[in-house]
Structure formats: C-alpha cells, structure tokens
C-alpha cells in the first residue's frame, strides 16, 4: 500500500502545483470512464518551449497528484525533452510493477518516479496517466500535429 501512496504523491495531492486554468494555445478534456476522473488541461508554448500547463479536474489522489507532478516537471522544458519524459513515464506506468526504476530513469522523472508503485495496480494506471495523455493530446493540437492517442 505504502508503495502506492508515497508521501510525495500525497504531498502533491494536498498541495497541487499550477492548478487552475490559465491562458493557453489549446485545451482538451479527458475522462477516465471507469471511475469518472476528469481533467481539463491547457498548454502554452513559446516556440518549442512549454511555458505553461494549467488544469482543472476532479478525481482520485493518484490522478490529481500526477497532474501536479506533470506541471512541475514539464513546464519550462523544450518540447523534445518533455516528450522524452512523457515516454519514460509511460514506460514506467505500463511496467506492471516489474520495472525497478534505474538511476537514469530517476534522473529523467524526478518526483514522477514515486508513481512506480501505482503500476502494480492495473485499475489505477489510467488514473496516473490521465493528465499525461491529456498533455500529449493538447500539445498535438497546439502545435498542429495530427497525432492523437488515448489510453
């Protein structure tokens, strides 16, 4: 249990970073139909630099903390780097608890590595990924890309 609800996750849940909707280049609304978690998320880019991710949503501690970590981790990054972080996070979350995060992974993911324990709970993986998939979708829309993916 404690391997899922890391102190760090609870901290982000209770004190979320960057919550609230601010001006953006694109807005998406994603829902997890099995439990009703939902998020509205906006991204703002300056050229290739992600200058803001703002969001509103309701859902469990995992989904809300994950959005907070995303904000902390990705804002200020170049698109390519943000994409890489997203991919590593996705890999970790889809590992079914079998992946022991490497040092390299920890360096990339920082606080997000705390979600490793969630990957053991199939019902909760989608909660952790909700905001990350929303970010990917919003980015594709903001930058005119056609790529779209849902979990």
């Amino acid at each position: 249990m404690d391997s899922m609800y890391q102190e760090l996750i609870l901290d982000h849940y209770k004190h979320p970073h960057g919550r609230g909707l601010r001006e953006g280049d694109a807005e998406v609304h994603h829902v997890n139909p099995t439990c009703g978690d939902e998020i509205t998320l906006r991204v703002k880019y300056d050229g290739e630099t992600l200058t803001d991710v703002s969001y509103e949503g309701q859902g469990c501690s995992i989904s809300q903390a994950s959005a907070s970590v995303l904000n902390e981790l990705l804002v200020g990054k170049e698109l390519a780097e943000a994409r890489k972080i997203q991919e590593v996070f996705l890999e970790l979350m889809q590992s079914k608890g079998k992946l022991e995060p490497t040092e390299e992974m920890e360096e990339v993911l920082e606080d997000a590595v705390a979600f490793a324990g969630v990957s053991k709970y199939p019902a909760r993986v989608k909660c952790a990924l909700l905001s990350w998939m929303a970010w990917k979708d919003a980015t594709a829309q903001a930058l005119g890309g056609a790529e779209r993916e849902t979990v």
Binding site: M1, L10, C35, G36, E38, G59
Partner: protein, 418 residues
Amino acid sequence: MTQLPGLLDTEAIRKDFPLLDRVVHDGKKIVYLDNAATSQKPRQVLDALNEYYEQHNANVHRGVHVLAEEATALYEGARDKVAAFINAPSRNEVIFTKNASESLNLVANMLGWADEPYRVDRETEIAITEMEHHSNIVPWQLLAQRTGAKLKWFGLTDDGRLDLSNIEEVITEKTKIVSFTLVSNIMGTVNPVEAIVRRAQDVGALVLIDASQAAPHMPLDVQALGADFVAFTGHKMCGPTGIGVLWGRQELLEDLPPFLGGGEMIETVSMHASTYAPAPHKFEAGTPPIAQAVGLGAAVDYLTAIGMDKIAAHEHAITEYAVRRLLEVPDLRIIGPATAEDRGAAISFTLGDIHPHDVGQVLDEQGIAVRVGHHCARPVCLRYGIPATTRASFYLYSSPAEVDALIDGLEHVRNFFG
C-alpha cells in the same frame, strides 16, 4: 459482540461459504461487502455444479440416453424451483437467460418487433426512472432510437426516493411499457411498486420490474407485484454467473414474438418458414446454460431452507446498524435513504473530498472489499452532483463485526488522507 434482533446465526452460515475464509494482503481475513455486485457461493451450490458435470452432463431436450434424460430433468427441475421461489402461476412462465441484462433486453426486443397492441413505435412512449442500472436504461434508449418512441423518466427526490409527483405526466395514455427497479443497486431504495403498477394498468401499459437487487434479499412474489415481467440474475443470489431469469405472464409470452432464433425454440422448420415452440422454449434458443441453471436451483434450495423472510429481517437489522454507524463517521454523506426503512442492504456514501477510488484502495489494503465508482448508475451520480460513490453492500452472511471493520477502516482512510 454486537447483538441485534433478527440476526441470523452468521457463524453457522459462514461455514457454508468457503471463500469467506480467504485471507488477503498478508494475513487479513476478507471482509466481503460487495454483495450488490455479486454474492459468494455456498458449498451446496458448488457441489451441485460439480455433481452435474461429474455425473449427469449431457445436452438437454434431445437424445434418449440416460444422461440426456437426467440433464433435462435437472434443468427443468431448476425451472420448477425458480417458479416456486417467485410464486409464478406456471413453470412455463420462467425463461432462463444468461443474466438480468439479457432478460431486460429480451423484453425490449419483444416489444420492438411485436404487433399491436404491444408494439412500441413513434406514436408511443416508454417510461423508466433516473435510478436505473444502465442495463435498464440502454435497452430502452436503443428501442427508442430504433422505433422513434419517446423515452420518459421519473426523477429522484433529495433523499434518494423516486419522485412520483408527476406520475400522470410520465405514464400517459401513450405509454406502452414502464420499466423500473424494485431495489436500487446504488442507493438501496426500495420503490413503491403498487402506485406505479396501478397507474400503468390505468393507461394499459405493460410493467417490467428489475428485481436483480430484490430476489436475493427478500421474498419475491410475482403475482403480488402485479407486474407483467420480472427480471433478475442468479449470481447475486448465491448462484453461478451465466444464468438469469425472465418471468412473464403466460398470455404475453404466447402473443409476443421470439427474439433469438435457433435450435430448441422451434416447433417445425422448413425452408419457407418455421413455427415456434411454446414458452418458455420459444425464448431459449440454442443450448441453454444447463449447469448454471442447476446451480441456481441449488441456490434457491439453499435460500429457501434458511427462509427469505429471515434473510430480509437479518439484512434489515444489519442495514439499520450500518446506517447508524456510518452516520457517526465525520464528513460521511449517505447517497440514498439515510434510514433503514424501505431500503435494501446496499449503502452508498461519500467521505469528505476523498475520492471513492482512494477510499476503496485503502479499505482493500485492510481486507475490506467494497465497490467504488458510479455502479453502472451514472445518472444517479449526476443527479446528486458527485463523480462516484463508495458502496458497501451486505448479505445473509454479513455480521455486525464486519460493519465495525468497515467503520474502523473508514477512520483509517480519513487519517491517511487527512
């Protein structure tokens, strides 16, 4: 130990249910409070399934060999048991399906294909309620889309009851079918059958009652209900999955057209046309769920031996105790009736701002199994402005000690996220 009037001897009953001895998460004994989703199975039902497959397995209604005759006798014997269990006037009114959803869909499809006076079309209306399970919503939405009929709804009151104040607007001369749940799967509300049936009969509409959350928990008498169809499922009442029941009045089953075609449901087949077997076989195309029906028969025997009135009294006592204890928990809001009157043993609640997923996860770690989410009744969540609930639901083997475990568990949840 808490003593409540009306309680069954749960210690003895629990010995019949092997799964209730299960330990989870490093030595915690399971506290199973997800009975509205499915019940556990007594040894008697598990034995009946085994014995059927080990001693009598064959296809039914064909073949002259001894096994075929035994299998047929067991399958049809289960129909007799179910008919007696619900006080059906005739065994031929009991149709075996795979679950309650199929039973409800079957009625919707019969009416979509029926001739006058049953036919649902663009000139007619269908009435359901806001507290239905999705399985009693979506078949009617489909029927309405396909036929152009208008779908109308009963709303809910703030305390989780049906709002019948506009009954004459919801059920009108145009209404062909009124379909509603006897007991809400999410709120536990027991609905006032008589008032709805009377209005439906006044305008000549048929009535279908979803008894999925009633059949396991209280005496069910289809004649006393006064409905035209009653649907329920086996796995919530100690039976196996894969077996459901649709009871329908004989003359309706004679008049209404079949839905699925196939073996077993015919009288004669030629390349021009076919004629159909009489009900119930007319509605049971293909090889039926034989072992599952036998298992349901064993479940009916088991419940009958204990007594449905005693089971209802037990659950009423447990519900009264659970409601009282739950209301002591700070920030807890019951979604549905906050008393034990006219309510079943499924109790939904929210706990402050803590999301039900988190509540359920922390309870699970303590060995307590509850359901979280919208319980396939999303309109109810929308009505009360909540994304989801946590639901604890009790059965004949549930004890006051398990209510206490839930309350302690919720205290732990509050501390964890507090």
